[in-house]
């Protein structure tokens, strides 16, 4: 395995965008950063699987998205059991940040979308990927990506009180 120092540098440059995607998927900065950390671990462990000349950003987004899907059910269950405890915590630092985010209408609406619609909306409408690139990241046909995007969009427009 050849170590390519620019691999780390390129990941570092991608990191702000990866965080944005992670926070969007998870719905809060703390979980988003944990997802980011796991994704970086996975990427560093599998760096020999990345083929130079292919897009590092798509590869990273795919890693992150796959980890998020894998974690999804367990995390959602855990969240439910922790809500009651959290409510009794004095708010400060990280807690305040999470609370502030939870108050956002957009975040709450995003969290109500099914996973496949949420990732489609984030990849296209926030991350700016074309349908083909987004479909490759998610691993579905372009047409499927398109229809998930539309369903997600329509749900958001309803939740946010804007007419479609």
């Amino acid at each position: 395995m050849t170590l390519n120092p620019s691999f780390e540098q390129d990941l570092l440059a991608l990191l702000p965008r990866l965080r944005r995607f992670a926070v969007g998927l998870c719905g809060n900065p703390a979980d988003g950063d944990d997802l980011c950390q796991m994704s970086l671990e996975r990427a560093l462990a599998n760096r020999d699987k990345w083929r130079e000349g292919t897009r590092l950003d798509s590869w990273m987004y795919r890693i992150m998205r796959n980890l998020w899907i894998d974690e999804g059910r367990a995390t959602t269950r855990r969240r439910e059991t922790f809500v009651a405890e959290d409510a009794g915590l004095s708010v400060g630092g990280e807690g305040a940040q999470e609370a502030a985010v939870e108050l956002s209408l957009v975040d709450r609406a995003m969290q109500q979308l099914p996973a496949d619609q949420r990732e489609a909306v984030l990849l296209v409408m926030v991350e700016g990927y074309g349908y083909r690139e987004a479909a490759e990241i998610v691993g579905c046909p372009v047409g499927t990506l398109n229809s998930r995007l539309v369903r997600g969009r329509d749900a958001l427009l309803t939740l946010l009180g804007e007419k479609a």
């Binding site: 780390e8 990941l11 570092l12 990191l15 702000p16 965008r17 965080r19 944005r20 926070v23 969007g24 998870c26 900065p29 703390a30 979980d31 988003g32 950063d33 944990d34 997802l35 980011c36 950390q37 796991m38 970086l40 671990e41 560093l44 974690e71 367990a74 995390t75 855990r78 969240r79 922790f82 405890e85 959290d86 009794g88 915590l89 004095s90 630092g93 807690g95 956002s104 957009v106 975040d107 909306v121 984030l122 409408m125 926030v126 700016g128 074309g130 349908y131 047409g143 398109n146 229809s147 995007l149 539309v150 969009r153 329509d154 958001l156 427009l157 946010l160 804007e162 007419k163 479609a164």
Partner: protein, 230 residues
């Protein structure tokens, strides 16, 4: 001409071949309802992009950027990381109610006597930390960390501690620091990330059940130290 919702979205996102895009542009011009749907799609895209843009502008947390410049302990999964994070956040606070199960899981034990210390009392090294370390000022790499200090119902000063050789609660009486509760050692948990785990949680739960009133704040703790914790 019929324009499906999927096709209109693809049009809005610039995903259609030029010829088809032009046909749809002309159709939209003549159809106020389609025009309105198109505007809603674009407005939502702007709103979402604007909402999430600040995250990419924020400085990346050190623990993430450090991974690309040096080695870092792995997070096993999000759920476990969340628990650790919340345990850590919870520690300095007094306002949570611990479940009885946590308290029950705390093993009660007694230190072996050594070095002339009475049975059931902290040894010299631990006593030194209990005597001198303040929660607010202790060095981050201290062998024993004081989690908090409080007074029990007898009015004795007690301190919850955690360290590589063990964690527990000790209360100061006339003979020394009497060990009231001991948990498992945190050996193997080298990072701060891990020491504040379930064991520390159990210690804290136990401390709360013993305490008569809130934990000492920094000022009260310093005063107690000045009077030798008696």
């Amino acid at each position: 001409m019929t324009v499906t919702r999927e096709e209109l979205a693809a049009f809005a996102d610039g995903e259609l071949p030029p010829e088809r895009a032009q046909q749809i542009a002309q159709t939209v011009e003549r159809d106020p309802e389609l025009a309105q749907q198109l505007a809603a799609h674009r407005a939502l895209k702007d709103r979402l992009a604007g909402h999430f843009a600040p995250i990419a502008q924020q400085p990346v947390p050190d623990r993430l950027s450090a991974m690309l410049t040096r080695e870092t302990a792995p997070v096993s999964d999000i759920a476990a990381a969340r628990e650790k994070r919340q345990a850590r956040r919870r520690l300095p606070h007094w306002g949570w109610v611990a479940g009885p199960a946590l308290a029950a899981s705390l093993a009660l034990a007694i230190f072996l006597p050594r070095g002339g210390v009475p049975d059931g009392y902290a040894d010299a090294q631990l006593a030194g930390a209990l005597d001198t370390q303040l929660v607010a000022e202790q060095p981050s790499g201290a062998d024993t960390r004081i989690l908090l200090s409080f007074q029990n119902r007898e009015g004795d000063f007690c301190r919850a501690f955690s360290g590589a050789s063990g964690s527990g609660i000790a209360c100061r009486d006339t003979q020394g620091w009497k060990l009231e509760a001991l948990g498992e050692g945190a050996a193997g948990a080298r990072t701060e990330y891990r020491t504040a785990g379930a064991d520390a949680g159990a210690i804290m739960a136990r401390a709360q059940s013993m305490a008569d009133g809130p934990a000492l704040d920094a000022e009260a703790e310093a005063e107690a130290r000045a009077t030798g914790w008696q």
